[in-house]
């Protein structure tokens, strides 16, 4: 039964590859020669590919849930004692399953794009489909020729190895899914960009059509980064959420370029400028997404997150190389039709501030890429192996990000086209006063650390600029319509979701900056060995060790330390850090215990123990971490506001389409 089903799975992938290649070629030539039947055939082939990949996913999930250990993938990533949830999520826990998941989601998106556009953009859709199916074919080639999820073992093992214990965490259920949805989602705007180049329809239709796709992918990638950070915080046991690891960097790079793109498209929509730049940004974002998958799955760069090592490197490099060459060829071929419709009227304007924002965002992406690949460059040049870790990124990316946060406050308040000095004074006087007041208050409170003062005062400045924007809009509505403040706030956001959703995202980022600054600059920790009944004091916390206990827990055994906590003399509860021992794993995994408040986290790690029952514990006080998670929540809320369909956007898109349609029919 197992062998038959695995054959069906392999055959489904092979057939899907053949049909995906057919769809890619047919859609391209159908679009080129304007042969409707061929285009229709490509569309139907896409639906069939989706059906075949759904079948393959269903078969693999069936294997994972029923413990079909003869399948190599199942034997590697599940076990008979592993909880059902993690057997289910093993689909994206390993390399082969991740590739299948990537390909399946990509073709699902292609189907959604076809359904969304069944009556529109017919001049673009064949090329969009072709690009998406070429990408799907690439992943199907990997699944069929390099590393099949349905490969069988010669000998049936008694049990599976199970997922890496680090991955047996609820955060790992959501993190890879959202991360991949983000990575895959960027294929849609990229496909539309290439379609615009291929078809020569280079007005902003492709940008407006894919705005929500881009925002969706950006939101998913943001969530992926959030879940990854939370997983690292509770699972890796070092008291941090971001370690500048190559895999983490790989997720940050497309996020940064996509953020730049989300801002620069506004200039193309408003002023018909930056057409080439937007095409470059969307392509860079797509390439970084592929690079992210490559770094995570290839093991080419040493990483705490690289859970698989394989020989896929040359395939990924070839795919990315071909993509770059094809893009450059198309860009050069169309350069005459990509002329700017306007020029900047002033050095100080919203447009130029957005250019600066783009420069910093892309600069941050470059600095991250540079740090990630520098060990390889250095080894090639000097022959010495070196490490590029957090201290490097703190010194290089830290100032770049600080500049970015300042720009986040400045950009939205500068007028389009030309900012007058009155405009600048009117918009910046109060926020600057708030920023300076924050410096003074922090100084009076005895805080002398320059990094903290700079980070918090800039956060206050940016927050003030955003609050002022809301205040002005609400005041205008209250005066005009006599609405109460709450209703005016609701209507303000509802009437301009994109703009105010963006501001809410900015508020979220500022809150995250506050959380990051607090936990980076003011974290304190101590490590000590305690015998039963002994205490350790950190800040105003007293942590008493009340002994160890062993406990079997499903598929692992836990050694748990019981810690009683008092703060400023008041008992505030108990915490239970533990070490978990999974069968077949050499090292136990760490489960830290945390008590979170808005002010700070008390974070305890059980580092080890002696035969006499003494425990080695690490205690960390991590200030303001909660604001990082709250900030992420606000960022998601803002993205959802901006993502929600806006009738005004639809009308704007219809206005752009109108002349095009007239030209096509006339």
């Amino acid at each position: 039964m197992t062998i038959t089903l695995s054959d069906v799975g392999s055959a489904a992938l092979l057939l899907a590859l053949a049909l995906a290649l057919y769809a890619a070629v047919a859609a391209f030539f159908g679009g080129r020669r304007k042969i409707d039947n061929v285009i229709e055939s490509a569309k139907r082939a896409t639906f069939v590919v989706f059906g075949l990949l759904t079948l393959a996913v269903a078969i693999l999930e069936y294997f994972l849930l029923t413990g079909a250990f003869q399948v190599e993938y199942v034997a590697h990533y599940t076990s008979s004692t592993q909880p059902l949830l993690y057997n289910l999520s093993a689909l994206w826990g390993g390399q082969e399953g991740s590739l299948l998941f990537w390909g399946w989601v990509l073709v699902m998106f292609a189907v959604i794009v076809l359904i969304q556009n069944r009556n529109q953009h017919q001049e673009l859709i064949p090329y969009v489909l072709s690009v998406m199916m070429v990408t799907a074919s690439f992943f199907l080639v990997l699944m069929t020729l390099v590393t099949s999820p349905f490969k069988l073992l010669d000998k049936l093992p008694a049990d599976g190895s199970g997922l890496n214990p680090l991955l047996q965490n609820i955060g790992m259920f959501f993190h890879p899914v959202t991360q991949y949805l983000g990575y895959v989602g960027f294929t849609v705007p990229f496909a539309f960009a290439i379609a615009a180049l291929l078809s020569g329809r280079l007005n902003d239709v492709w940008i407006r059509t894919t705005r929500r796709w881009t925002l969706f992918a950006w939101l998913m990638l943001s969530l992926g980064i959030l879940f990854g950070g939370q997983w690292a915080y509770v699972e890796l046991g070092w008291g941090g959420y971001w370690g500048w690891d190559p895999v983490e960097n790989a997720s940050l790079m497309p996020w940064l370029t996509a953020t730049a793109y989300l801002h620069s498209v506004m200039i193309q929509e408003k002023r018909g400028m930056l057409k080439v730049w937007n095409l470059v940004l969307v392509t860079l974002t797509f390439l970084f997404s592929i690079l992210g998958t490559f770094i995570t799955r290839s093991g080419i760069i040493q990483s705490v997150h690289a859970f698989g090592v394989s020989a896929m490197g040359p395939y990924f490099l070839a795919f990315m190389g071909v993509t770059v060459l094809a893009f450059l060829y198309l860009l050069l071929a169309r350069v005459d039709t990509l002329k700017e419709e306007n020029e900047l009227d002033s050095l100080v304007s919203r447009e130029s501030s957005f250019l600066l924002n783009n420069l910093i965002l892309v600069g941050a992406a470059f600095a991250t890429l540079w740090g990630t690949i520098f060990p390889m460059i250095s080894e090639a040049v000097t022959g010495k192996k070196i490490t590029v870790g957090p201290p490097f990124y703190n010194q290089v990316n830290g100032p770049i990000f600080l500049g970015l946060v300042i720009l986040m406050g400045i950009c939205p308040l500068i007028s389009w086209r030309r900012a007058s000095s009155e405009n600048l004074i009117r918009n910046f006087a109060a926020p600057l006063a708030v920023g300076l007041a924050t410096v003074a208050i922090l100084f009076v409170l005895g805080i002398r650390d320059a990094s903290g003062i700079v980070a918090f005062s800039i956060s206050a400045f940016v927050l003030a600029t955003i609050v002022m924007e809301f205040y002005r809009g609400m005041r205008a509505r209250i005066r005009q319509y006599h609405e109460n403040p709450l209703l005016s706030l609701f209507n303000l956001i509802e009437r301009n979701r994109r703009r105010y959703g963006g501001y809410v995202v900015h508020i979220g980022v500022v809150l995250m900056v506050i959380g990051i600054a607090g936990s980076t600059f003011y974290k304190i920790e101590t490590q000590t060995t305690l015998v039963k009944g002994q205490s350790v004091t950190l800040k105003d916390y007293v942590v008493r060790f009340d002994g160890l206990k062993e406990m079997p827990r499903g598929n692992f055994d836990a050694v748990i330390a019981q810690m009683t906590i008092t703060q400023a003399g008041q008992p505030i509860g108990m915490l239970f850090p533990e070490k978990d021992f999974y069968p077949g794993q050499e090292q136990p995994s760490t489960e830290m215990a945390v008590r979170s408040t808005l002010i700070e986290d008390l974070y305890i790690i059980l580092a080890g123990w002696e035969d006499d029952g003494a425990a080695s514990v690490k205690v960390i006080v991590n200030p303001l971490v909660m604001w990082l998670w709250i900030g992420f929540g606000v960022l998601v809320l803002g993205s959802l506001i901006a993502l929600y369909p806006d009738p005004r956007e639809e009308r704007a898109l219809a206005r752009v389409r109108a002349p095009q349609t007239a030209a096509a029919t006339g």
Partner: protein
């Protein structure tokens, strides 16, 4: 202004609330500058494995012997090579690791400045053009308030643009 006063007061209260969280950071400076050598790719100060424990106690011993922070780092570089350091040294070719990102931003920024300045000079020399399709948004516009005059002006612009 009343609103701003309330906002300032809120900022002040917020800072007062979070101020108790601040304390001098106590850092294990040496461990932050070294990588754990068990193959986990984690900074020594953050790793909890046996190798990390061993390296940290070795650092304590070296400190007790009177070694300085730099001498301890040199000891580990001699033992494991430069890869034991958590960041490249700021010497020789490694210096390019630190300089390149800022140099790239400055060069790109300079290029953007020149292009924008050229645009500005060109647009000032050019004859006045019709107002942009989308006029500069005012607070009222952003708030969803559109006057009849504004609508009329926009219609004229659209008619002019699309050739009636």
């Amino acid at each position: 202004m009343r609103f701003l006063r309330i906002f300032l007061a809120a900022v002040f209260l917020f800072i007062l609330t979070i101020a108790p969280a601040f304390a001098d950071a106590g850092v294990d400076a040496v461990a932050q500058n070294l990588m754990c050598q068990c193959g986990c790719t984690m900074v020594l100060s953050t790793c909890e494995c046996g190798t990390a424990e061993q390296m940290r106690s070795e650092i304590t011993t070296l400190f007790a012997e009177g070694k300085t922070q730099q001498q301890i780092l040199d000891f580990y570089v001699a033992k494991y090579g430069e890869k034991v350091l958590s960041a490249p040294t700021k010497q020789g070719f490694n210096l390019t690791a630190y300089i390149t990102p800022f140099a790239a931003i400055l060069i790109a920024g300079g290029a953007i400045f020149l292009v924008v300045r050229q645009w500005v000079i060109h647009s000032r020399k050019a004859p006045p053009v019709a107002p942009a399709l989308t006029p500069e948004p005012t607070a009222a516009h952003n708030a969803g308030i559109v006057s009849l005059d504004a609508l009329r002006a926009r219609m004229q612009q659209d008619l002019a643009r699309y050739g009636e």
